[in-house]
């Protein structure tokens, strides 16, 4: 079975400051990794995902995450946050291949302070 740990339930950060949201996973098989974002009163949206290949993946709005197999981590970073980045961020893992379920972490609330 897979599991995901997001150690930080809340991360306050000033506007234009950098941020890192931490995610660690546990799995005995190879995995796919995802970051989803949930804005207030909305459903989740995919931010970025790692399937294979380059360990650094980027989103269109400036976020990036790096897959680190030895540390079983997939931390999300942004060099300069905006007010509009305020949201809940979920890390998720799925075993690679086939119709496998996606297991979500407990989420990290990013609060950008003006």
């Amino acid at each position: 079975a897979q599991s995901v740990t997001q150690l930080d339930s809340q991360v306050p950060v000033f506007e234009e400051a950098p941020v890192e949201l931490r995610c660690n996973y546990s799995s005995s098989v190879s995995v796919y990794l995802f970051w989803y974002v949930q804005y207030p009163n909305q459903g989740l949206q995919l931010l970025l995902k790692y399937l294979s290949g380059s360990t650094l993946v980027e989103s269109i709005n400036g976020f990036e995450a790096e897959f680190n197999k030895s540390q079983t981590s997939f931390h999300l970073r942004k060099p300069s946050v905006h007010i509009s980045d305020t949201a809940e961020y979920f890390c998720a893992v799925s075993p690679s291949g086939g119709y496998q379920k996606v297991t979500f972490g407990t989420g990290t609330k990013l609060q950008v302070i003006p």
């Binding site: 459903g43 989740l44 799925s94 075993p95 690679s96 119709y99 979500f104 989420g107």
Partner: protein, 113 residues
């Protein structure tokens, strides 16, 4: 054009009642899901259907019964509602499973009194 839609958006009901939530996707996807998000934002999969066939059935009370009349629809019927069923229920869809992006609906906030 809403990709994944759910009705109703809010549902307030008494304990013991039976209720249904409907989900429709117009993305042409072959896989649909139901998730439950509790008050602490923890998101847990309940069911998944691929081409109308149940492929994931987590440990969910049998008061919850999903039904997929076709690939574009996945409904959730809940019998004998309990206080602990209060949550936000999300429907999602994807083309295939695993690696493929899931597209979530706006959620249905169920409150059981």
């Amino acid at each position: 054009d809403t990709a994944v839609s759910q009705t109703p958006k809010y549902l307030v009901t008494q304990m013991g009642n039976d209720k249904s939530i409907k989900c429709e996707q117009n993305l042409g996807h072959d896989t649909m899901y139901w998730y439950k998000q509790d008050s602490k934002k923890f998101l847990k999969i309940m069911f998944s259907y691929n081409n109308k066939e149940l492929i994931i059935n987590e440990t969910v009370p049998n008061r919850f019964s999903p039904k997929s009349p076709d690939k574009a629809h996945l409904n959730l019927h809940i019998n004998s509602l309990e206080l602990g069923d209060s949550a936000v229920y999300f429907c999602a869809s994807s083309q295939g499973g695993g690696a493929n992006t899931q597209y979530f609906g706006p959620g249905t906030r169920l409150t059981v009194l």
